[in-house]
């Protein structure tokens, strides 16, 4: 009896991610949800520029590779091409989504574009070797903030869920993490809801996943998971920041 298997939507390939990186867990959760909702055949995924640039190889659904930050605009085109059929998700890092692609993110949310956004926040640029990200914490040491992020000089980190929650547009905004079994299960529930919302035509759903980058944080994989608890969650509290349908249910 098989009790645990690779999801069909996840390709049987070795991934290029570093040891201890949590991209692999998040990929798997997305693939499990695609399997469970039975939508692989009509799903189109959009990979970003950054560590997950080659995500197009790892999902078995049709995939598009986007220019840096432009995934929500491409997703808009794909969705509008056949809104009843296409299930569209973007998979983006913090530099991609919250720095170079901030305009595309905000406007896709404002339009309540019926897409699912998986936002992987590891507070650093991984692919290019550990530079300061829009979500790097105050004081965080990176290659381009070697004395620690000085908020007087380069400003404060951006809390994407809280910011987008100010808009009337988006349907669902949640922040989760994947640094323990309990949190992985919660993350999966949020990702599933974000896809289900799209199937139900409810609109823009974004799940921010606090993710570990041991390589560029200079930590062991185990210490990196603890760093999420100790440093990231206090700045980026977990939780649901917007759930318009649930709110409507409450009001009934």
């Amino acid at each position: 009896m098989i009790v645990f298997d690779r999801p069909h939507a996840l390709a049987d390939l070795p991934m290029h991610y570093c040891p201890g990186c949590t991209h692999g867990i998040i990929h798997r959760l997305v693939a499990e949800v695609i399997d469970e909702l039975g939508i692989e055949g009509r799903t189109i995924g959009i990979a970003p520029v950054g560590c997950s640039v080659m995500a197009y190889d790892y999902f078995t659904c049709d995939m598009i590779e986007a220019a840096h930050g432009r995934a929500p605009a491409i997703a808009t085109g794909v969705k509008r091409s056949d809104p009843d059929r296409h299930i569209v998700f973007t998979y983006q890092g913090d530099g991609d989504l919250a720095s170079i692609g901030m305009a595309e993110t905000v406007h896709a949310a404002a339009r309540n574009e019926n897409i699912t956004v998986i936002f992987v926040n590891n507070a650093i640029y991984g692919m290019t070797g550990g530079q300061m990200a829009p979500t790097s914490l105050p004081g965080q040491i990176t290659q381009t903030s070697p004395y620690g992020r000085d908020v007087n000089q380069c400003g404060y980190p951006i809390r994407v869920c809280e910011m987008l929650a100010q808009l009337d547009g988006p349907e669902y905004l949640a922040r989760v993490t994947v640094n323990s079994v309990k949190e992985v299960r919660r993350a999966k529930a949020a990702i599933k809801k974000a896809f289900q919302n799209q199937v139900d035509k409810k609109g823009f759903s974004l799940v921010e996943v606090l993710s570990a980058c041991p390589t560029n944080w200079g930590l062991t994989p185990a210490a990196a998971l603890r760093w999420i608890d100790e440093k990231m969650i206090p700045y980026y509290p977990l939780g649901v920041y917007k759930d318009r349908s649930a709110k409507k249910e409450d009001e009934k």
């Binding site: 049709d62 598009i64 220019a67 085109g77 794909v78 406007h107």
Partner: protein, 356 residues
């Protein structure tokens, strides 16, 4: 619909695009092409299409990328500064071999420039506009009728060669009204697109639309393959109009509004006994090199008439390989050469070459 209607150039493009089967338009307002967006905003909902005003030109071209990846006909339009913003996306479209139809109704530059007509984006259009080795098919209408017919042709070419085709017009072409007929008989249905990302239906291996290729040997192979396709286009697709070239001693090279001004000058020059003709490129890329190469065996000199500081003149010179002198007659920054200015250049050339 073969009846004649009076339309603005910009509107003729929009109407022709809908006739070509384009049901998705993404754009951002910028003078002097906003009539295209306004027309699409009105018409698309009536034909079951999508008009969406994007948050930026960058977003608009990426929305185009998204629809094109699903195999459907799609377009965007802008004017010079906006095309600079779209150039990132134009490079990605080329790298992913996606068809797209893009309109540039040029205005004076550089920078914010002005809003009057210009041809100063010739280099940008014919040299690809973004980073990397690539071309776009560049179509240069000289009448409202050609705004329509070259739009129909542009969608076909884009699909046939899996690349961007661009209408390179100018503010005059966009704004002026002329009678136009829409010859829908020539419209080709889009070809099959087995590469499109429309969902696997669990019946095939996944399609990937991508411009990333980290193995240099593979990326080189893709570039060579793309340029083999470009070589076919350079052989098959150049378009030009020869005007009074049969007996010409002097040849004008001009496209778009510059060609119309030049025709007036040619009429007057011929009345004064100077045998002058014109080659009007209709495709700027592929450039009608053969036409100029042949003219170089016949005429004494060529005058390139342009609304720029002299850009097409470089292609003319490359085509004639120093066989005849090529001079420039130009205005820039939104100004248009007058027929008198062109006539004056023709007379100077006639004096110099002693061919009156």
């Amino acid at each position: 619909m073969a009846e004649k209607v009076l339309m603005k150039g910009n509107e003729a493009i929009a109407e022709a695009a809908i006739l070509a089967g384009c049901r998705h338009y993404f754009g951002y307002p910028i003078t002097p092409q906003t009539e295209i967006a306004a027309y699409m905003a009105k018409k698309m909902p009536l034909v079951g299409g999508v008009f969406l005003q994007a948050e930026s030109e960058i977003a608009a071209i990426n929305m185009v990328y998204g629809v094109s990846a699903t195999g459907k006909r799609v377009m965007t339009s802008s004017s010079s500064p906006g095309i600079s913003l779209k150039s990132e996306g134009l490079s990605y479209l080329a790298g992913a071999d996606l068809p797209a139809f893009v309109v540039n109704v040029q205005r004076g530059g550089p920078g914010l420039g002005g809003v009057q007509p210009s041809q100063a984006d010739y280099f940008q259009a014919t040299r690809g506009s973004g980073h990397g080795d690539y071309h776009m098919i560049v179509l240069a209408p000289a009448s409202v009728q050609e705004m329509a017919s070259l739009t129909l042709r542009g969608f076909d070419l884009a699909d046939r060669y899996r690349m961007t085709s661009m209408i390179l017009a100018d503010g005059t072409m966009g704004q002026m009204m002329e009678p136009v007929t829409f010859e829908t008989g020539d419209i080709q249905p889009p070809p099959e697109k087995p590469w499109a990302t429309v969902g696997t239906d669990l019946r095939r291996k996944h399609n990937v639309v991508n411009s990333l290729s980290l193995v240099p040997e593979e990326l080189e192979r893709q570039n060579f393959a793309r340029y083999e396709r470009y070589a076919q286009i350079e052989e098959k697709e150049p378009l030009w109009e020869s005007y009074m070239m049969e007996d010409a001693d002097i040849c004008i090279a001009a496209f778009g509004i510059a060609a119309r001004v030049s025709k007036n000058a040619i009429t007057e020059a011929r009345r004064r006994g100077i045998r002058v003709g014109m080659i009007r490129p209709i495709t700027l890329w592929p450039f009608p090199r053969a036409a100029f190469r042949a003219a170089a065996e016949q005429v004494h000199s060529i005058i390139s008439v342009e609304l720029s500081m002299g850009q097409m003149i470089e292609d003319v010179r490359l085509a004639v390989e120093c066989r005849v002198p090529v001079t420039l007659c130009n205005r820039a920054g939104g100004m248009i050469p007058s027929p008198e200015q062109v006539l004056c250049e023709i007379e100077k050339a006639a004096e110099k070459e002693n061919c009156r």
